[in-house]
Symmetry: C2
Subunit: 392 residues, 2 copies
């Protein structure tokens, strides 16, 4: 009943589950948090991998040439069931009754995203499509669900991304400390939180590649046997090649002014293979090349801070898979010697859980009637309450 | 802000706009109603036809062989803009400020509907897909919007249709009078409201063809010059052929027990051409055949009442395009002599506005936290609150 929604609006302590599935379509990240006032505490986190057949079906839906209408319709409801199942298993596995959960925030599975937009009549229409029917999640779990966060931002001219900076603000903003939240996934991005700043003082943009080039290089030099540089062990054995690093630092993305975002188009396979060929021509050793591209990622982050942030942060909070790469973290510290290096774990949110936690926070804000986009990051014309509420 | 939602929950008088676009994709029906307690008053109604190019694009989206992922994504947002525009024009045209509107209920444009469902793992997954991004409607108009009513019913095993019986219940149920709401669109369907009954006493099912066969026959006999029997003028000039009528009444759908629904598969072009050939073989005149198929529609309605309703209604409330067909209405009256014939117009809701009004009522119920599916009509396992709320 919507009496539940009313009760939540007044509730100071809420238990919220955040569900996230990224573009690689590996599976579902599910995080249960308790939000008290504005304090967020992670209670449980679990990853539920998709069955292989489902993953293949989803990847087919992401390609215009293989995506079929009836499959989009079907898998929207299938994924609703799979997301609901993740909620049930998270509760069962942790012994927490679903009846004690107030809310679910579900990002859904993106199958298309067009932030540049396409002409219709005299307007440019931006659009995005996430599937994983939230009505199914809500009915199957009996828990009020908020989903579909991106369309609201795009409706007011935003790119619908990034959405995590709002959660960074809630989790990490501080009245006297200036902080930067540095996420290192495939791509790396920063959320800058000036001390005592409000939502609209937040600055967020992509700093450049994260693990994308490191992973690509490890794969090439290990002939596909390794997929990433675990804990930074490979790069720790190598020496940075200054000449190659200098060549890489000429990439035009690094000089572009924020707000800016990047992806596989700029730092994907093509770029990785280009660097690989340069390295082979000079007969560089694999470990040296991996060390060099790791230094490149660290340098792009430090560079972006020097160029585009109004001040150096007092503290840098690392998250994303790259935070596990010790060499990368050490290189970053050496390039930003005055900045105190922390990780989201220091705030009780494990590195891997942070994105799922973010969607729990976004859903909480929607129910509380708080605008939860960051216009300076998305390019939206103004603040809006994102998401659709499915009452139960 | 969601303060608006909270205010609405407590509000006794609400102004709600209902938006509907049917499967023919002709355009948008927009109705503004005032709901006080449970009394509904229609203030304004207007039809906004789609531009031809948009209509063609939508029909392309409905066909698996021509529907493309990027177009589904794009036109979801385009239709959001077009629906929002209809709201703005409805307000401007009637001099009612959008600021005085509390809520929008939008059905959306169905591009796929699979109530039979398709297997996934060990389950049968029912699914449906309506487009017309409600986040765009809400942001563009500044009005809280409820949309996507069908998925919630399908999530609990329903067919996601019909949804209008709930609105019939709100509009027409009476403590001492037993009423049947008879809609005559392409297909005809009844909502039976026993006197003093509750939501779960409602019986609703398709009685059989509505105007579908009459329209088809008029088209064939006029060689495509006429598309329907305006006011029933043609059928009034003809004589019913008993033999042909008897042949038609052998259709197996008429004996099937409710809940049941039908469509073009059973009473579409193929059936019309079959009857046309029978009539030509016996050299029947066009007006006589049109009179006969009109009598057939009337008979299927009366037949369904005798066979499948627990009692004859005191009053029959007509709506849908067929209510304009005087011959059909007279035939129906002669077959149900004890039933008082009324139309939705007698209750202040014009025949053509009723479907759009229904989605205003469904949205109002969602905000009020009332379950608004009719499980006996949809086959759902139980009552649920349908729809997704987009706060502003």
């Amino acid at each position: 009943m919507s009496r539940r929604i009313r009760r939540m609006m007044d509730k100071d302590k809420m238990r919220v589950i955040g569900l996230m599935s990224g573009t690689s379509a590996d599976g579902i990240d599910a995080a249960l948090v308790e939000i008290t006032g504005r304090r967020v505490r992670l209670l449980v986190f679990e990853v539920f991998p998709y069955p292989n057949a489902l993953r293949r079906a989803i990847l087919d839906l992401c390609r215009p040439e293989s995506a079929r209408l009836e499959d989009i319709c079907h898998y929207n409801f299938v994924l609703g069931e799979v997301f609901a199942d993740a909620v049930v298993r998270l509760c069962t596995g942790s012994g927490i009754g679903p009846g004690s959960i107030d809310l679910i925030g579900s990002h859904g599975q993106t199958i298309h995203h067009n932030p540049q937009g396409k002409r219709y009549a005299r307007a440019v229409i931006r659009s995005t499509l996430q599937i994983g029917e939230p009505s199914v999640i809500a009915q199957r779990t009996g828990i009020t669900t908020v989903a579909d966060f991106r369309p609201g931002d795009m409706a007011v001219g935003g790119q619908g991304a990034p959405l995590v900076p709002y959660a960074d603000y809630v989790l990490f903003s501080h009245s006297r400390r200036c902080r930067a939240v540095q996420n290192i996934g495939g791509i790396a991005n920063v959320t800058f939180l000036p001390s005592g700043g409000k939502e609209n003082d937040v600055i967020a943009f992509d700093t450049g590649p994260g693990n994308m080039i490191i992973d690509g290089m490890v794969r090439l030099f290990s002939r596909g046997k390794k997929h990433y540089d675990q804990n930074g062990v490979m790069s720790a054995q190598g020496t940075v090649d200054r000449k190659l690093l200098k060549e890489m630092l000429r990439h035009p993305f690094l000089r572009r002014r924020p707000p800016k975002s990047t992806g596989r188009e700029e730092f994907g396979d093509e770029f990785v293979e280009h660097i690989y060929r340069l390295a082979c021509k000079r007969s560089l050793a694999g470990v040296d090349v991996v060390a060099t591209v790791t230094a490149f990622t660290a340098e792009t982050v430090a560079c972006a801070y020097r160029r585009f942030l109004p001040s150096q942060p007092d503290e840098l909070i690392l998250c994303g898979g790259g935070a596990h790469n010790k060499t990368l973290v050490e290189m970053l510290q050496s390039k930003l010697p005055e900045v105190k290096m922390l990780s989201s774990e220091d705030f009780g949110v494990s590195i891997d859980a942070k994105e799922a936690v973010s969607f729990a926070i976004l859903a909480w804000a929607t129910i509380k009637g708080k605008a939860n986009n960051v216009p300076s990051a998305t390019g939206a014309a103004g603040p809006v309450i994102l998401g659709k509420i499915i009452p139960t």
